[in-house]
Symmetry: C2
Subunit: 320 residues, 2 copies
């Protein structure tokens, strides 16, 4: 069993991001020394606590580089760095090839060259495409991604699996539902808040609002990743990470509008999808990670409520 | 329904290879003008017939280049170019990233920029890894490739699917069993023939010989591809292409030795796999392509026998 070595050095790519920085803090609390690699395109230095056991190296993982020296002596790598915006990848197909597929390849090569024995990868439920089975189990196929972002996730999963079988690096693949929490510049809640800031009378919602997905809080997601990496037994271990319930975009819009005083009109652009590459109906089977003893603190609605409250507090303090 | 336009221009990458050149001949017989792109690393100019309706452009698809001009006015692209050697990809992990994943990305970009509306891709049964279900259906998951070669195939499938959903290029994905036939420099039969040429007294076989796989002749494979591309209705259509039966490496070794006079001793190196990344047990469910009216002319043993006879004839004529 090879999980994160609590007393040793670990690498976290994308460690200055909203999920990555939470993971970094959790790893440090468990006694690890954490070497963060981040290109700071969406990650932010301020999300990381000041600690002698955290170093931040600015790194472009889409190319090999001196950043790979950070892998020397590390026991594991948590590879979270990626383009977070599906629509950006559709507009420019190179984005996810370079920052998804090639970055993952270079990270795995660095791990191989430095004898790092464990890799944990943040994949996504979008690898399933629009699944015909809900809740979708990890065994679902065929995997037909509908966006370049999703294709990049699937390609990276395949690379993790190949490195596990060909070079003996244990792999942990986490297929995330929608992860929400503090520090995110992107996603449904920051988008809705930004729209209402620009025009408090009206909230435009992409699609018909019936899109229904599972939302998971960052802290629940990170707890599941740490648990999975510590207990997984196969060369490659795939875990869905989401909530057992889901919530519609319409309900989320109404919650956000209520939090802003309830006066804004909600306008739906129509259509079953929010955008090209959107997967409007998503619910993951999570019994595999639950069998390891994990259960989320917040359900989908609870995760939305908590994050809305945080965004309101941040807006009230002028940090919104 | 968008299949190959019988009267129009089509692009075939890897068209100077053993499977590609057979496909090129079949397309020309159906009235197409064929633009072949090949880096001639394993493909050979001599495999292509001389015809005013065939042009060959030497092209390195791992980088964008002027070769993409060959897509102008084409109705479809058949993307077969790839590294054919699993072991090469394990020795140097860049090989399949560059010649598999990136080449497919550049081919799809060329198709998108030139409004090519159909792409057919030669994937492989290795995307299944060592499947727990035999015969393995197209819906099998999780897809956990065990080699860089397989990871490159899975990545390319994901790209084809993303381009289909994001940019409207209809995709056809063919997951090949072991395809055998004339003109192949690589694979179990050319390898066994080369070994017996070097030492007629002894045939070394990698693994214990109990590896059992399905083998399909090139002409049966090409017929299935043409049928599938002409009749598939979904944005992305995945077809297994193999035989309903399989044959063991031991049986193949005995057939090859018998064809050489039966005097050579067969030595097994032992172990259930031939090499790192080998998938020793493989059998594909082929009812999806069969429902379109396809059935192979040769079963696995028949395909082996026919190819042995061709290799013998070639050796006898001094071309072996």
């Amino acid at each position: 069993m090879k999980g994160p070595n609590p007393g040793g050095a670990v690498v976290v790519t994308g460690g200055a991001g909203a999920i990555g920085s939470w993971l970094v803090r959790s790893l440090v609390e468990r006694g690890a020394t954490v070497r963060v690699l981040d290109n700071l395109s969406t990650g932010r230095r301020e999300l990381l606590p000041t600690s002698p056991r955290i170093t931040l190296t600015t790194a472009d993982l889409s190319h090999p580089g001196p950043w790979s020296e950070q892998f020397a002596g590390a026991s594991s790598v948590w590879h979270l760095a990626a383009n977070p915006d599906i629509r950006l990848g559709t507009a420019d197909p190179r984005v996810d090839v370079e920052n998804g597929t090639l970055a993952t390849f270079h990270v795995l090569e660095a791990a191989r060259r430095h004898d790092v024995t464990s890799v944990s990868y943040s994949s996504s439920s979008v690898v399933y495409g629009q699944a015909k089975v809900l809740p979708t189990p990890e065994e679902y196929g065929p995997l037909l991604p509908e966006s370049m972002y999703a294709a990049g996730k699937l390609a990276a999963e395949g690379l993790v699996s190949a490195y596990a079988h060909s070079y003996g690096i244990r792999g942990h693949i986490y297929r995330f539902a929608n992860i929400i929490g503090p520090g995110m510049g992107h996603g449904i809640l920051p988008d809705f808040f930004a729209k209402l800031r620009a025009d408090p009378t009206r909230l435009e919602v992409l699609g018909d609002g019936h899109q229904a997905k599972s939302y998971l809080r960052t802290e629940d997601c990170v707890a599941a990743m740490l648990l999975g990496a510590g207990q997984a037994q196969e060369p490659v271990n795939v875990f869905n990470l989401g909530n057992a319930d889901r919530i519609t975009v319409r309900e989320i819009a109404e919650k956000v509008v209520a939090a802003h005083g309830g006066r804004a009109r909600i306008d739906y652009t129509g259509g079953t999808r929010g955008w090209v590459g959107d997967v409007p109906q998503q619910l993951l089977a999570i019994d595999r990670i639950q069998r390891l003893g994990w259960s989320p603190r917040y359900n989908s609605a609870g995760a939305i409520d908590r994050t809305i409250a945080e965004l309101q507090a941040a807006a009230g303090s002028g940090r919104g």
